[in-house]
């Protein structure tokens, strides 16, 4: 009984941590540009696929991971430069189509560069399970949680303590004022894509030993990350993390106790219910719209 619950909780928190990273990626870009980047999920896929193929080619794992993150960041920055920046003034709907187009494009490219098969990667530190009150905890799960935690703490430090991070925050609150204060908002935009791509890549890489990866893995993960960001309140970092964990846990519980076919639906039902009562998400900015 309890062990089953614990097992579901573990898998929920694990996948939730990836959703959280992905949701953070959405939020960072949203803050910098008010663009929702539907290609966020592809960053996860590209990071994972690159790492996998580098490892397969004999590159030592730590180096492969580092290179994969850099490659994904480059893709993110290119995406921003070539597709998003030229269309900054376009409507929300147009921008959604652009980023969805980018996502289809990247997926198609991945299918060419790699293939349509599933790929796996060895766990970072073996696969001897750890017993936890009757539930099984894989060492890779600890890697996922530890990495996510570290990344979140690093982000918090970056946004609150460094000049660059503060400049990004300032831009999100008032782009014009930020620009007048001498902040290079174009650079902020580029940085936000690089950072989000890195987040996606890290998430994709650490989860791959658990879930496998393939060229079309990014879509659902991306949509879940978007859900996490919206659930927590777009642009709110804490909200994205909370949203990711809620979506992940709800899904795992639904898969465990209801039916695995409906696990994806459960996440969306929760989000719909939350939005009906809190139209700006759980921790989104409230207050009266100024007229």
């Amino acid at each position: 009984m309890l062990s089953a619950f614990l097992q579901f909780l573990i898998s929920g928190v694990t996948v939730g941590a990836i959703y959280a990273l992905c949701g953070l990626g959405f939020s960072i870009i949203y803050n910098a540009s008010h663009v929702i980047n539907f290609a966020q999920g592809e960053f996860i896929m590209i990071g994972a696929m690159t790492a996998v193929s580098l490892v397969e080619a004999g590159v030592p794992m730590p180096l492969a991971i580092l290179l994969a993150i850099l490659v994904t960041m480059a893709v993110g920055v290119l995406l921003e430069k070539l597709a998003v920046e030229p269309a900054r003034k376009a409507s929300v709907t147009t921008l959604i189509i652009i980023t969805i187009g980018a996502s289809i494009f990247l997926r198609g490219l991945a299918q060419e560069v790699w293939d349509k098969n599933f790929h796996k990667m060895d766990p970072f530190s073996g696969d001897t399970p750890i017993n936890l009150f009757g539930a099984v905890l894989m060492p890779q799960t600890l890697w996922v949680l530890g990495t996510a935690l570290l990344v979140i703490l690093l982000l918090a430090w970056f946004f609150n303590r460094t000049l660059e991070g503060k400049a990004m925050l300032a831009t999100s609150f008032n782009p014009l004022a930020a620009q007048l204060m001498g902040i290079n908002t174009k650079r902020v935009l580029m940085l936000s894509f690089g950072l989000s791509a890195a987040l996606g890549a890290v998430g994709g890489i650490v989860i791959t030993p658990i879930t496998f990866t393939a060229y079309d893995n990014g879509i659902m993960l991306g949509l879940k990350g978007f859900s996490a960001a919206v659930l927590g309140g777009l642009g709110n970092g804490f909200g994205a993390v909370a949203g990711g964990l809620i979506v992940g846990i709800a899904e795992a519980m639904a898969a465990g106790y209801l039916s695995s076919a409906y696990k994806d639906a459960v996440a969306f039902v929760i989000i719909l219910l939350v939005l009906v009562f809190l139209p700006n998400g759980l921790f989104g900015r409230k207050g009266t719209e100024r007229v």
Binding site: G287, T288, R290, V291
Partner: protein, 254 residues
């Protein structure tokens, strides 16, 4: 008889008390100005009156009926209309159609007749277009009869909002800084429009920083400061009120 009665009205945003225990009345057929320094709560007051914001407490009665719980469109049905300090133009539409939207309440807007474009709909549209043309001329926009709203200058858009509000044939018309950003000639033209509107029997509530305009055309002035009533009365009474001079006019500005 009063058209609008405001009692113990309060509005807070977080810690900001934008409107604070405000009470006043407006009689029909007058031009009633509301003045006060930036941030005094004038726009907030308009938003409360027209149902855009809900009061934190207090009540507003329009034609002796409380407005609480009514949406802006319901208050429009009751006979209120307004313009905005921050333009709320339909930039996706031609200028004339902006004004035609103002005819909304006076047109057959049932779904099925519209879908089939029954003769009544076409006729109503033609009349609305005619009436809107007339109103655009009335506010001095004859040059823009064929223009798209997104191709018009700021001053023209301010008037377009007035025409749109008038198209609804309101009993109470609230104008939030109609002369802001206009030059002296344009201001005087707006001035004339407002006086003409008032003469036609519409009660006008005016928020304006242009003191010459306010003092020239108002029957009654309410002075706000930090959301509170500082003074009220005729232009002469307000002009000579020492509190007002001290807090707002700053000596010799009028």
């Amino acid at each position: 008889m009063t058209l609008l009665r405001v009692e113990h009205l309060n509005k807070e945003f977080g810690g900001v008390h934008a409107v604070s225990d405000l009470a006043f009345t407006i009689n029909p057929g007058t031009i009633h100005s509301i003045i006060g320094p930036n941030g005094a709560g004038k726009t907030t007051l308009f938003n409360l009156i027209t149902g855009v914001y809900t009061p934190s407490s207090g009540s507003i009665l329009f034609n002796d009926v409380p407005t609480a719980g009514k949406a802006p469109y319901q208050l429009a049905e009751d006979g209120m209309s307004r313009t905005f300090q921050n333009l709320q133009i339909f930039f996706n539409m031609p200028a004339i159609e902006n004004v035609m939207v103002g005819r909304h309440l006076h047109l057959d807007r049932r779904f099925l007749p519209s879908l089939l474009r029954l003769p009544g709909i076409a006729k109503g549209d033609a009349q609305a277009r005619e009436k809107s043309t007339e109103l655009m001329r009335f506010v001095g926009l004859e040059a823009y009869l064929k223009a798209d709203a997104d191709a018009m200058p700021y001053g023209a858009l301010k008037r377009l909002e007035i025409a749109r509000a008038l198209a609804a044939e309101p009993k109470l018309l609230l104008l939030d800084e109609p002369a802001a950003g206009l030059n002296a000639t344009e201001s005087r033209e707006i001035d004339e429009v407002i006086v003409k509107v008032a003469k036609s029997g519409v009660t006008v509530v005016l928020v304006e920083h242009d003191m010459k305009m306010v003092m020239g055309i108002s029957d009654h002035i309410l002075v706000l400061d930090y959301g509170k009533k500082l003074a009220e009365g005729t232009p002469d009474q307000v002009r000579n009120n020492p509190d007002v001079i001290k807090a707002y006019l700053g000596g010799g500005a009028a």
